[in-house]
């Protein structure tokens, strides 16, 4: 018998934590990533520089280092949050950098004429971005954002290292007792593959639905 099935309650609860982190951090990172992109294309130089710095910082620092920093250093600085929310926040700010890169490449695919036409109609820059540029940019990068979401779902496993009892931590714990590492960890791997597959398929569906006929 598969020890994961013997410990189904624990596995399901841990899977729930994994999915919760993936979904909340996924939505959060898309929202934050779009905001960072807006800052990156804004006419205000300070915002552009800050957004560029943000992206560069998070793309060049390991996620595990950020998790360790947040879990062990923030409480020292007087910021106390439960483990899972802390991990979610770190995932949001980290993955937002990758989302921002994807969205920016989408912005670059929007013809300048689209922005000119909306400015010529009297829309402000903010309105032009919200109503014309971003909707088209996002439609162009559904797959790349889907890939970031897959990476994010896989990256939730790193939260195990700072004590969050998500899927990887739970199966690790089960293996300490059952000692069947090949079976246990490949089963967990299959679950992660299922998550990745689901995100990939969802991204494909969304992409087909929102694709712009040209």
């Amino acid at each position: 018998m598969n020890p994961l099935i013997d410990n189904l309650g624990l596995v399901l609860e841990a899977l729930g934590t994994t999915l919760l982190m993936a979904v909340v951090a996924g939505v959060g990172s898309i929202v934050l990533g779009v905001l960072v992109t807006v800052a990156r294309v804004s006419p205000i130089r300070a915002l552009r520089v800050a957004a560029f710095g943000y992206v560069q910082f998070f793309i060049n620092v390991p996620l595990l280092a950020l998790l360790l920093l947040a879990v062990f250093a923030l409480p020292d600085a007087g910021l106390m949050l439960p483990l899972t929310p802390t991990a979610i926040i770190v995932l949001i700010v980290y993955e937002a950098a990758y989302v921002a890169e994807a969205v920016r490449s989408g912005v670059n695919t929007v013809a300048v004429g689209q922005l000119e036409a909306s400015r010529a109609l009297g829309l402000t820059l903010a309105q032009s971005l919200r109503l014309v540029v971003l909707p088209q940019a996002l439609r162009a990068v559904v797959q790349p954002i889907g890939n970031v979401m897959i990476a994010l779902a896989m990256n939730t496993a790193l939260a195990a290292a700072v004590g969050v009892v998500e899927l990887t931590a739970a199966v690790n714990k089960i293996n300490l007792v059952a000692a069947q590492p090949i079976l246990i960890f490949s089963s967990a791997g299959v679950i992660y593959m299922g998550i990745a597959l689901a995100i990939g398929l969802a991204a494909g569906r969304v992409e087909r639905k929102v694709a712009i006929v040209r």
Binding site: A117, A120, G122
Partner: protein, 242 residues
């Protein structure tokens, strides 16, 4: 309605507008012609500040062009612009293209915006395409939709930058007809075009540009039948021989 005084514009070293003076009265239709690269588009685009100018002054309805921000947006709302490449919003239906700015800029209630948009689409002959995406329309239909989109803002003046240059020849007429009817209704228009027939038919005045300068301004009959400058003569000879 529109006045340019001593307008200079550079692209780096290139002096594209050289001390341009031009006044367009309300209800006047001014057609701008000239060889490629003479600065016609730049002139047109500077009037709603899609291009900034380096010297001189541009006024629309007596108001100097604001530099940036909400005041500039408000001015642009009053100046309609039609582009060579249509630039319809690719992700919105034709109807939504027309209602977007009235709803978001003028704060027109949605039902009213839709009703007015349908009237305009009907007027340009594509009411049956209201629910289509721009890509599902022919070039001529797209350009007529773009004209309806600009008209929906009830502009004081309309700028056209080669509105028919991207069209297949058989679609040029349908767009020019819409423009001619607008002109006949008293819309103030500045039209950059290579369609000399339209200039003759609809223009009150033809402005001939070459190398960033206004070389000649005249009534269409006079310009086409007896151009005053050598440059205009050779330009006309080259266009009419095509």
């Amino acid at each position: 309605m529109v006045s340019l005084r001593g307008v200079d514009k550079y692209f780096g070293e290139l002096h594209v507008l050289k001390h341009i003076d031009l006044t367009v009265q309300a209800s006047e239709v001014v057609v701008v012609v000239g060889p490629s690269g003479s600065g016609k588009s730049t002139l047109c685009r500077s009037i709603n500040r899609l291009e900034s100018i380096d010297a001189g002054e541009i006024r629309v309805d007596g108001e100097p062009l604001p530099v940036e921000g909400p005041a500039l947006a408000a001015l642009r709302a009053d100046v309609g612009m039609v582009f060579q490449s249509f630039n319809l919003f690719a992700h919105r239906t034709v109807l939504e293209n027309v209602t977007l700015a009235p709803i978001n800029v003028r704060r027109v209630p949605k039902v009213d915006a839709r009703r007015e948009a349908m009237e305009l689409l009907d007027r340009v002959g594509i009411a049956d395409k209201a629910g289509h995406l721009p890509a599902q329309l022919s070039g001529g239909q797209q350009q007529r939709a773009a004209i309806a989109r600009a008209l929906a803002m009830r502009p004081k003046v309309m700028l056209f930058d080669e509105p028919t240059s991207a069209l297949d020849p058989e679609m040029v007429g349908e767009v020019l007809d819409v423009m001619a009817s607008l002109a006949a209704e008293g819309m103030t228009m500045i039209v950059v075009t290579h369609e000399m027939g339209f200039a003759r038919r609809a223009a009150d005045r033809v402005v001939f540009m070459d190398q960033g300068q206004i070389v000649e301004e005249a009534a269409p009959d006079q310009f086409f039948d007896a151009p005053g400058s050598e440059r205009a003569r050779s330009f006309l000879a080259s266009v009419l021989s095509h």
